[in-house]
Symmetry: C2
Subunit: 301 residues, 2 copies
Amino acid sequence: MSVLVVGTTALDSIKTPKSENPRLLGGSASHAAVAASFFAPTKLVGVVGGDFPAKYIKLYEKHGLCLKGLERVADGRTFHWSGEYEVNMNNRRTLETVLGVIENWQPVLPGDYETTPFILLANISPSVQHRVLDQVSKPKFVIADTMDLWLNIALPEVLSLLKRIDCLVLNDSEARQLVSEDNVVNALPKIHKLGPKYVIIKKGEHGSVLSGPKGLFVAPAFPLKKVVDPTGAGDSFVGGLIGFLASQKSGSIETNLRRAIVHGSVVASFCCEGFGLNVTTKTAKKEILARVRELEKLAKF
Amino acid sequence: MSVLVVGTTALDSIKTPKSENPRLLGGSASHAAVAASFFAPTKLVGVVGGDFPAKYIKLYEKHGLCLKGLERVADGRTFHWSGEYEVNMNNRRTLETVLGVIENWQPVLPGDYETTPFILLANISPSVQHRVLDQVSKPKFVIADTMDLWLNIALPEVLSLLKRIDCLVLNDSEARQLVSEDNVVNALPKIHKLGPKYVIIKKGEHGSVLSGPKGLFVAPAFPLKKVVDPTGAGDSFVGGLIGFLASQKSGSIETNLRRAIVHGSVVASFCCEGFGLNVTTKTAKKEILARVRELEKLAKF
């Protein structure tokens, strides 16, 4: 079955202690849609400006993304994020954000997108996420990602979104912030009460935790010898996750979700090994599946 | 088979945002030996002063610990540590340390301890760890725990110890410090080169990673709704681990180590649920085994 991914399509300039990388392909939807495309037909809903390089469109096409929902504003500027990582690659700070064409974007879905069964509301303003949900009809599964920015400046919209989705993905500090609870495990039932049947806490190099009607799943991350650039890892995670879910011909969401998380986690591990999408887009599906098998062995007891 | 645990036997005063708890039973050897005793006969090697409460001796005895190697210095003061935790229970600072009888302690093992097959050098100065190793003969397996303090003030002794042990246990920042390497996964082969065949990185609530001749094992931690006091969790982890290893009648160290880590991790989870040893000493073995089975379910995919 197919996946619709909405989110930011961006140019990222990323500085690390070792190098500077201007105008990489980035954005939550870019990472998530490419990740999903390894497993299922994927539709990308986003907006770019006239400055968006043709080579990045070709990269999307190489991954078979349907681009009918990618709006192009010839006289606008693409959303641009620039950030800097510290030596340990865990702490980053934003140097500059230029919203450009994303600022007043109101996505309009192509008519035949309405019945897409799997919807990923990748990280973008909750008003855009709402607007996409308004245009789809009875999806089978809706996942939303978010970030601290939206909890800070658009909490009411996030809260109303939570009542419309099946699964919320967020990191541990955001989970604590959302329900004012120091302990993440304790935060989970409180987040369920806000709406989503499933909640997934991203913990980066420490893996993730799924909470659902059948309890918790503690998922490992693939141990990496080299982290070049973690930007987009969370988006790759959730993209790979929903792509895998959509690709499964049997089994319920509940039974497939654990393996979906592991597949998402492995796509994210490739993402971290290069700047932007450099390594992800050079990765073959068989390499992803091989690393999933390796992770199974690493985690078995 | 039996386990010898050497380390500190202490009185801990622990302050958290919610309460103050003076003169709890603490110390690396107390936590580790009690944890090991759930699985195997355990000998405690340590030193206490005349101020050490008789009730704590009774507690040791309740757990069947052999106390022939517990030296009592009637006119001395027991090692005392006092510390304070922040709200998130992850950051702590030491308020006071009184070395007391531990300062010039040179352990002398009871003669029949010489042939103990499983030796745990719990966290204490590397000179004491060396001295205990000098007095045992061909142990089957030696694990050493350490901490940043010893890497800072006694590095040469730590390095010579590494050549005498089978397994080193340390946390991620200590691993990075030991071999000046930012990435923990990359630090592992460098630590092996210093001596130990096995290295275990403790990551607290995020579980642990084992590195050995057959590669890595990524181990989960039991997700806790309430962390009351994490003091001694690392000691409980390594104690439960070696106790489980010593209890196994079949299988090689290599094959038993993964499950040993999971058992250690579960004992540590009980430790965190109360101050000092309060919850650990009230826990039944069947509760530990039930939580191991639960963790198996939580981590399966």
